[in-house]
Structures are given as C-alpha cells and as structure tokens.
C-alpha cells in the first residue's frame, strides 16, 4: 500500500552480541532510545513470580556511575521522558529526549546494563513499592482481580498463567541472591536490542554506540521458557465475586495461534468486524439494538507464545449473561459458516491501513515498533511487511480459522459478579 511510508533502518550487531537498530528521522530535534531485554514474566520459575517486573524497578536504583533514582533525574534534567514496562515476553526501558542529549541516554543505558547496583536496601524499598503497585492497580480496582485470574484460568502452562506483577507471597520471599542471578542471566548485551530513532546521523551514532556498549562483556545464559499449551477439549468456566465491581462482567478467550501466525492476522481482522467501532457486529447487536452491555473489547494480545482471542464486556444491570453469550455465539458461528461480508472485509482493511499510517507519527512510536519487531518477531523487516499479511487475508481463511477457533470447548469464560458490601 503506497500510502504507508517505508521505515528505513539499519541493523547491526556488536561483538558482544548487542543488536543495534538505527532509524534517522530528523523532523523534530528529538531522539528515542529504547533497550528491550528478551525477558518477561514467562521466564520466571514457580516460587519466584513477579521477578521480571520487580527488576524493572531495580533498574532505576542506580549503577556504578549513577546514583539511586538518578537515571530519571538525568533524563528529566535534559527535558526528556522515561519509563519502562514488563510483559510476559520482554522488558523495555526507554527515554525520549532532545537529540543533543543522545550521548547521555546511551551512557545511562550502558552503565546500568554493565553495572547495576543491586543492594539489600534498594531491593527492600522496591519490593514494597511493587506490593503497593499491586494494590493500586489490581486489588483496589474494580475487576483488577478478574484481570489477574483470567490468564491463570485460561493457560495450563504456568509460564503464561501466572500474573506479571507476581504474588505478594513470592515478592516477600524474594532474596537478594536471586536478583543478582537474574541480572546476570538475562541483563546483558547478548540478550538485548537497542533501538535509536529520531534526529540522528546513523554512522556517527553507531560509533557512539560502540564507544559506550562494546566493552560490556556478555555473561547472559538465557533459559527460554517452554510456552507450549495443551489443546483444550472442554470449556472452562468460573465465577468470581468482586466487592468493588459495580456491574457483572465477562472475560472470555478462545485458544488460538501466536503472534505472527495465520490465526493472528485472520483473527485481528475478525476482531475489527465484531468489535472495531460502533458499526461492528457486536456493537450493533449488543449496544444499539439491545442495550445489554457497556464496554466492549475483542481481539488477540501480542504474545510470542500461544494467544487467546479475547472478548470482554460489562453487563447492564438485570441482564442475563446467558442471553448475551448466546448472541455472541450466534455471530461467531455465522462467521465460521459464512465468513464476513465483502463490505466488512473492506472496512477492516481500511481500518488496518489507517492504523499503519498513524503509527508512524512520532519517533518514540517508530522506535518502539522497531524494537517490537526485533524482539517479538525476530525480524525487524516485518515493520515494512506486516501490513501485507493483514491485507492478504481472504474470506476463505476467515471462515476456516473461525470454524476451528470459535469452538466452545476451546473457550475459557470468567464471569465477575458484584458482591454486596453491606
């Protein structure tokens, strides 16, 4: 599709294994620097849940030449923005700052890659911060516990089943030695991708990268988790009572293939047909016609391993969830038998194309996309190819994938019901 810009980039590997991806984009004097480590919660072991995320916090606690919490101070001083996040498959650290501070960002990332300060005091403080984060983001929030419970129910493999944030018990039992070992194993150049996108000269930037990173030895020894999931043969259902939930809610998920599989492209389009906008099938039927539900989401996440086609919604008071489920089943069966209409397919393609255009708007978005393709697809070139995979999906594929995936036996269903508090 000619309207979508090709993203020009360079890809290099340093002698210590660090993958370096550079994208020059000089429209605004800004640069985005992002380091993705190929480690997420799925790399944890039972009894040590929450480690990958706890580590995300530890990475701001200082290193050989950077004091506690100074990483953020330096970036703030430069007028930049910084953050980090942990998923099941990877952890990323990034900053967007005025481009004349590029060296600062590289120096900071290199320092914490090489020499993180993992002390008992830092470890203790971040452990309690994370426990508060869990309360704020899940325990004290409506549906927070359902969010954590759903993957536990849907996945039989512990790697994806357990929550990223971990259990309070495991966090409390975590030991400093484990943190040190975790850092050695996963946080080195050989297990990382460094992306620099923005107002840069790529040749000069590569020199700088060598200067800051090349002397960092690689000591990583990565244990890639087994993510395989058994084929589900029976529907899983559970009811969860939530004192904070104002309305009943449903989370459901159908077993499907991983990110980048045919299932993924086909079902991403199906998600748009059923829930992409006010003219979508579910929205028309469940909101416009019947006024049965309030919020609505459908679609896969972006997991390296086995995904779920998720459908979540909140139910209006006094509406029987079974009626809604029957209506959803009817639509999904219809797609499995007849496919979607030509107009629906065209609309979904327009929407996907438009998203691919919009996502090129800022250096940080392009930088994170390059890293996403590098780490989750193992192929940076996918950034320029992936749209074609979406646009190539045919109605015949939709029918056959829908017929296989939308099978109630392959489904997990969690119903959250408000619990009276008085």
């Amino acid at each position: 599709m000619s309207e979508v810009r090709t993203v020009e980039f360079e890809e290099h590997y340093l002698s210590n294994g660090l993958q370096v991806i550079l994208h020059a984009h000089g429209r605004t004097p800004l640069v985005h620097v992002s380091v993705h480590y190929r480690v997420g919660s799925s790399y944890e072991t039972p009894g040590r849940s929450g480690f990958a995320h706890l580590f995300e916090h530890m990475m701001f606690q200082g290193s050989e030449n950077v004091g506690k919490a100074q990483h953020g101070l330096y970036i703030d001083q430069a007028g930049g923005r910084w953050n980090a996040s942990t998923s099941k498959d990877r952890t990323n650290y990034f900053e967007t700052l005025p481009s004349h501070y590029l060296d600062l960002a590289l120096w900071l990332e290199a320092d914490r890659m090489r020499s993180l300060a993992i002390t008992a005091e830092n470890f203790e403080n971040q452990r309690s911060t994370v426990i508060e984060e869990k309360k704020q983001s899940y325990d004290n929030r409506p549906y927070g516990l359902s969010y954590l419970r759903f993957d536990e129910l849907a996945y039989s493999n512990w790697a994806y089943a357990h929550p990223i944030i971990g259990s309070v018990e495991d966090l409390e039992n975590a030991r400093l030695e484990d943190a040190l070992e975790f850092h050695r194993r996963y946080y080195g150049p050989g297990n990382a991708a460094l992306v620099i996108s923005g107002d840069i000269d790529t040749k000069e930037t590569l020199e700088r990268v060598r200067q800051y990173f090349e002397d960092t030895p690689d000591r990583t020894s990565v244990n890639h988790p087994d993510l395989s999931e058994e084929d589900q043969t029976e529907e899983k259902r559970e009811i969860l009572k939530d004192r904070l939930a104002p309305l009943p809610a449903v989370s459901m998920g159908y077993q499907m293939g991983h990110l980048g599989s045919d299932d993924y492209y086909v079902l991403s389009l199906v998600a748009l047909v059923v829930a992409g906008g006010d003219s979508s099938r579910f929205y028309r039927k469940l909101v416009y016609d019947q006024n049965w539900i309030t919020s609505l989401y459908a679609g896969p996440n972006q997991y390296r391993g086995p995904e779920l086609f998720r459908i979540t919604f909140q139910i209006q008071e006094k509406v029987d969830p079974e009626i809604i489920l029957a209506a959803i089943d009817e639509e999904l069966e219809d797609i499995a038998v007849k496919g979607v209409t030509d107009a629906e397919l065209e609309k979904a393609r327009n929407q996907i194309s438009s998203r691919f255009i919009s996502r090129m708007s800022t250096v940080s978005r392009i930088g994170e996309l390059l890293a996403h393709y590098a780490v989750l697809h193992d192929d940076v070139h996918m950034i320029n190819r992936e749209l074609d995979y979406f646009l190539a999906v045919t109605n015949e594929q939709i029918r056959s994938v829908a017929a296989r995936v939308f099978d109630k036996r392959r489904r997990t269903l969690l119903l959250t019901v408000p619990e009276a508090t008085q």
Binding site: R5, G79, E132, P246, D278, K347, S358
Partner: protein
C-alpha cells in the same frame, strides 16, 4: 570514583510554526497546520461550550448534547453515521471539558472531504433522537455505578464541590437524578442556545494547505448561522480560609487515595509561568519532591504527583497519591510538609534547572505532530493568550528564578489553606486523621455521614 555523564551536544533550535487563520463570513475561524509527512489530516472543532453550561439541576446535559451529536442528524441515523466513520477508517472523538468542547475527526487524506462533510452534519444538524437518548442514558447510569467505585473519581468530585460550592466549576460529575431530568427538548434547547460559529475555531492539521482548507470550510461551514449568543459570564469563586479534611468512607478499601487541593490562578494569568515551575519542583514528575519522598524514600506508594487544573476564572494545584492505608497520616503529613518547605527556602539550582527542562522538553515533544501543534494553537486562540505566547514560552520558563519559586510557593502552597480529601475505609483511618482537625465524612454517593 564515579565518572560524570557526557554533556550535551549543540542545541538545536525549534521554531514554533506560523499557523495561518482565515475567518469565514459567519465568524468561524479556520486554522491550518500544514505538514505532508503522513497522508492524513486531523480536523478539530473547538466550541465555547462545556460542563459549566449544564443547568444547575442537571450536570449531565452538556455532555449528553455532545454525546448525541453522532446519534442522528436530519440527514443520517446513528447507524449510518457509525458506518461512515468506520468504513472510511475515520477516528472520531468528542470531548467535553469544563469550558470547551473539542470534536475531532482524523482521516486519510483521500477521504478528507467526506470527513469535513460529516463533521459539518454532526455539529449543525443533530436531531437528538429519543431512542438514542434513552440508550445513552441507560449506559451512562451503569457508568455512574462504575465511576462511584473509583477512588480517584470520588476524590476529584468531593474536592471540586468543596472548592466551588454554588459555582459552575463544581459541575464535574453527574448524579443519577440528573439523568432522570434529561429530555430531548432540553438537549435541543441547550444546543440551540450555545452552538454557534462565533468564538469557535476549525483546525485542519496535516497534509493540506490553507487554500484547500478554506475552500472546504466555505463549502461545508460558511452557511452555518451565528446565533448571537456571547460567552457565559460567572463570578470568581470565593477564597478558602482554613484547612479542611474530608473523608470519603469507601468500605473494604485496601489502600488510601489522597488528594490535596490548593487554589492558584486562572489559566491566562502571567504568573502561571512561575506556578508551573513551582508545581514541577513539588510533584511534576518522577524526580519531584513528592515522588522522591513518598515513593523512593519511604515506599508508601507506587507514585505521588501534583498537577494543575486551570480555567478561565480560577485554577487548582492538586497533589495526590494512593498510599498504604497504615501510612495515611504520615503520607498526608509529608505532602503538607513538602508544600510548606518550598515556601521556606528556594530550590537548589540543579533542581530548578531540571524542573524547567522537564517543562521545556514536554513542550518540544508536543511540537512533534501537526495535530498536537494545532491543538496548542486552538487553545491559545480560544483562551486569548497573546500571539507570541508559544514563541516566548521557552525563554519565559528559563527566566524563572529560585527566589521566584520560593515566593510563588509562599503565596500559593499554603497547607493551612488546602482542602484534603481522603478516600478509605473510615474504620482504618478516621482516628489518625483527627490529628489534623475536624474530619468531615461522606459516603460514596456524596452524602454527608455523621462523625
């Protein structure tokens, strides 16, 4: 021996672009930010219509009017509108703020005219269909139940009611009984009274030039008649004389939500420049005093921040955090302490420079896309900031001194004139809070409870 970080390279200047403005015959002003990097255009229409325009007995009506724009016009039904938006992959948003409404429609370049036509239809020909109104109100009623379970929502509502009793700025949240009063006729009436091209601005940002934007605007907007209504006038709110502690009893809370408010200044007051720097030092980011103290030093919370909410007649500085319940008293004490300390001694030079850089950096990031530059320009004109406001913004922030920050804090960051809202289970915190003075207690519906 620690190595010091590398210094900066050569600074590159960033120029705020010229944004041409073309008034139409009906007084609607057309603004254009031209940038052909991506083949798309963001359309935004800003109207002088907000929550404050809702009637005194029905805070829902302004929002309802705006929500129903896309639910039916004299030319199209709600489904047809949804179909047009989705078919051409447009992104539609309608946001109602305290004193303004922004309708936006992002579209691929080649479908631009369809989007301009649709936007014109939505804003000029709404019919507020009975059936869609009912549907919207039913969904909203459920949403209210959700809202009232959210500690952040409860804290915000209580604070605005406390600062602005009997003032339009209290209209930040909706009660179920407001929804009972919503009718098609009332929505229509409010719409007819306030929607007008006068004082409104239409922005085109992206792959388009002024000539084409003007042509499209003339074609689809010039015969929109002005109704002669001016701006809503209302008084400055009253001052807060002494500190108040308001507790919202939210049973089974596993954390305490704290929100402390202080009156500051109206949005366009020139003293807002030092106020912004002062706020940045106090709680503007992950290196600020509140964050460093409550999270990094004490581990009471996942995050503590302060931020500004400013309007045409007044503004608030709000400082908040979700904290471990057993640290409620200490956390509140620390927030008050940080506020007072900033008025007692000026910030360190390094802290001051960092805070200014953070504000300037955020400003530069806002200039990355034509849509966000356009939004800045819309707001500038709408609020009546001077022509050179953004061009002079960076030098004016840089010019703020440590002494000015201290003086600003002395004047505005007075814990003794703050209003603090605490959302928690009263059984775990009430006794501790009494140390700060009389505790006024409310339930989650907003009704006072006996002490």
């Amino acid at each position: 021996m620690k190595v010091t970080p590398p210094g900066p390279g050569k600074v590159k200047n960033i120029d705020y672009p010229e944004v041409p403005c073309q008034p139409l015959r009906n007084d609607l002003k057309v603004l254009v930010v031209e940038d052909s990097y991506l083949p798309q255009v963001a359309l935004k229409l800003i109207l002088p219509f907000g929550r404050i325009h809702s009637p005194h007995d029905n805070f829902a009506l302004s929002e309802l009017v705006v929500a129903l724009l896309k639910e039916g016009t004299t030319n199209r039904g709600s489904r047809e509108i949804a179909e047009v938006i989705d078919q051409w992959a447009m992104e539609y948003d309608a946001d109602v703020y305290m004193e303004k409404t922004i309708l936006s429609l992002k579209v691929l370049r080649r479908h631009l005219e369809r989007a301009v036509e649709l936007l014109s239809d939505l804003v000029r020909n709404p019919v507020f269909p009975e059936q869609e109104l009912e549907r919207t109100v039913t969904r909203w009623r459920s949403q209210l139940v959700s809202d009232r379970s959210d500690p952040g929502f409860l804290a915000n509502e209580r604070l605005f009611h406390a600062f602005y009793p009997d003032h339009p700025y209290r209209k930040v949240s909706v009660q179920p009984e407001h929804l009972d009063l919503c009718t098609r006729e009332k929505a229509q009436e409010l719409y007819l009274k306030w929607f007008s091209p006068q004082k409104s601005y239409l922005l085109f940002a992206g792959d388009i030039n002024l000539e084409e934007a003007t042509r499209l605007s003339e074609r689809y907007f010039e015969d929109w008649e002005a109704n002669g209504t001016g701006l809503l006038d209302f008084p400055q709110p009253d001052a807060v004389r002494s500190r108040r502690i308001l507790l919202i009893h939210r049973p089974h809370s596993v954390q305490t939500r704290l929100l402390v408010g202080l009156r500051i200044l109206p949005r366009t007051d020139p003293r807002m420049i030092p106020v912004r720097v002062t706020n940045q030092v106090l709680g503007g980011g992950g290196s600020s005093r509140l964050f460093m103290n409550l999270r990094e030093d004490k581990g009471y919370t996942y995050g503590a921040y302060s931020y500004l909410k400013t309007y045409s007649k007044d503004g608030l500085l709000l400082a908040g955090a979700s904290v471990r319940t057993d640290t409620t008293r200490e956390s509140l004490q620390e927030i008050f302490k940080e506020m007072e300390q900033l008025g007692e001694s000026p910030p360190e030079e390094e802290e001051l420079q960092r805070s200014k850089s953070e504000i300037i950096g955020a400003f530069i990031r806002q200039m990355e896309t034509p849509g966000s530059i356009g939004s800045m320009e819309l707001v500038r004109r709408f609020l009546g900031f001077p022509e050179d406001y953004y061009r002079r913004f960076i030098p004016r922030i840089r010019a703020v001194t440590a002494e000015q920050v201290k003086e600003t804090a002395q004047e505005f960051l007075r814990a003794s004139r703050s209003i603090a809202v605490v959302v928690a289970d009263r059984n775990s915190v009430e006794k501790d809070l009494q140390e700060f003075g009389t505790v006024e207690i409310y339930d989650t519906k907003g009704e006072p409870l006996s002490g």
